[in-house]
């Protein structure tokens, strides 16, 4: 065989890639029919292209990379080190709680329970993972009478499942996360485009810590009812999450 010239090779590639205009394509096809070396090389190129397109499934960005990138531009992210100490809002909230309880000792207890940011971050990661996997719940249902038994068959103490659709928070489903080594029930509520993950955990520490409005770009609300701590995480705005909490508590 005679080696093709450089220009011939470029022409073959351009034809293969659909980069020739109609006139050039016409004379190209004529040449293809007349010259066997030319045609043989074209067939090899075409076969190569076919093999590449056949064999490669598109590579997608891993979920944790996606989460990190999305977190880059999340509004009002406060740097981690700053949030480890209670900010003035948290302190102010503590004072309000203390005033309500009217006891100095309570105030001291509440004040020293600084927001548990690392713990909130664990739950935020679970929330993100759930959403990014494209399968935010293990059981999908808007019917609390389906979700409650689903949990009841898996936990000694089934979590409270409230129907908050009337308040604008329809139930979407439930899942089980492993939080600090222990399986925990998580309820998924929807609010417009947003999901709210509500995790129920056995009460730990002093509870009732107040949170900065956002941690890592996510709104966090936590409250205690009896022996259960509730943690609500969402990318909705903090005010919405407060409404959610009020709706949930209002039903109890």
């Amino acid at each position: 065989m005679t080696a093709l010239t450089r220009d011939e090779l470029l022409l073959l590639n351009a034809a293969l890639d659909g980069e020739l205009d109609a006139a050039a394509m016409l004379s190209f096809e004529k040449r293809l029919a007349e010259t066997s070396d030319f045609a043989a090389e074209y067939n090899r190129l075409k076969t190569l292209q076919g093999a590449i397109r056949r064999e490669f499934i598109p590579r997608v960005a891993p979920a944790d990379l996606r989460a990190r990138v999305m977190a880059m531009a999340a509004p009002a992210v406060s740097p981690r080190r700053a949030t480890l100490a209670p900010n003035w809002q948290a302190l102010a909230a503590s004072v309000i709680i203390a005033a309500g309880l009217g006891s100095l000792s309570t105030w001291l207890v509440v004040k020293t329970s600084s927001p548990d940011i690392p713990f909130a971050e664990l739950l935020i990661d679970d929330h993100k993972r759930g959403l990014l996997s494209g399968q935010p719940f293990d059981v999908a249902s808007a019917d609390r009478h389906k979700i409650k038994p689903w949990f009841a068959s898996r936990f000694a103490l089934a979590p409270k499942v409230e129907d908050l659709e009337a308040q604008g928070f329809p139930l979407a489903g439930g899942r089980i996360d492993v939080v600090a080594g222990t399986p925990a029930p998580v309820l998924l509520y929807r609010h417009n485009e947003h999901y709210i993950s509500l995790t129920a955990l056995p009460a730990r520490g002093n509870g009732a810590a107040s949170f900065p409005s956002r941690v890592d770009g996510y709104a966090v609300e936590t409250w205690r009812e009896g022996n259960t701590d509730y943690w609500a995480i969402s990318d909705a705005d903090p005010a919405t999450l407060i409404k959610f909490r009020q709706a949930f508590e209002g039903r109890s």
């Binding site: 450089r6 470029l10 590639n13 351009a14 064999e55 880059m72």
Partner: protein
């Protein structure tokens, strides 16, 4: 960050994350480094968001990603980068037998990936932008910042090398 730029980032950069990752993955050759490159590229995109005046957001992010990747290559794989540009070996006659078309047709993903990975970085980049991202020559020239003719010769060289490698291996 203001909410506005966060929305803009979500609309401009995030939809093309898979593209950015795929390109970075091919150029760096592994997942961990690709993630670093993409994260760095997205940070640059975020900082440069004000300067992006609309148009092809995908091409814009790919351009930032490849620049970041080549900076990374220059720092971490200087040898691979130095040895490549830009010997035009299209004229050299084929040695040995003509590669069998049937062998090329049978190539599986592993053989193809190994052959592509062995390409010089600029050839690899051009081939990936064409075959994986399915960009036109014009778009590739814009993203890589080289002349149209350079895109064409890099692509021809990349394919010639692949055909030779796969025709040999089977």
């Amino acid at each position: 960050m203001k909410a506005l730029s966060s929305d803009r980032f979500a609309a401009t950069v995030v939809p093309h994350l898979d593209d950015a990752y795929a390109l970075a993955r091919w150029l760096t050759g592994n997942d961990a480094d690709a993630q670093d490159v993409v994260q760095e590229a997205c940070l640059r995109a975020l900082q440069g968001l004000d300067r992006f005046r609309g148009g092809n957001a995908r091409a814009w992010l790919l351009a930032i990603t490849r620049n970041t990747a080549f900076t990374w290559l220059a720092r971490n794989r200087p040898k691979a980068l130095a040895a490549t540009e830009d010997i035009d070996d299209l004229e050299t006659p084929d040695e040995g037998a003509t590669p069998e078309e049937a062998l090329i047709a049978k190539s599986d993903a592993r053989a193809l990936e190994a052959a592509i990975d062995a390409l010089p970085p600029f050839c690899k980049e051009t081939l990936v932008l064409r075959e994986i991202h399915e960009l036109s020559y014009r778009e590739i020239a814009d993203i890589t910042g080289v002349a149209f003719g350079t895109v064409m010769s890099r692509l021809a060289r990349a394919r010639k090398a692949l055909i030779t490698a796969l025709g040999k291996e089977g």
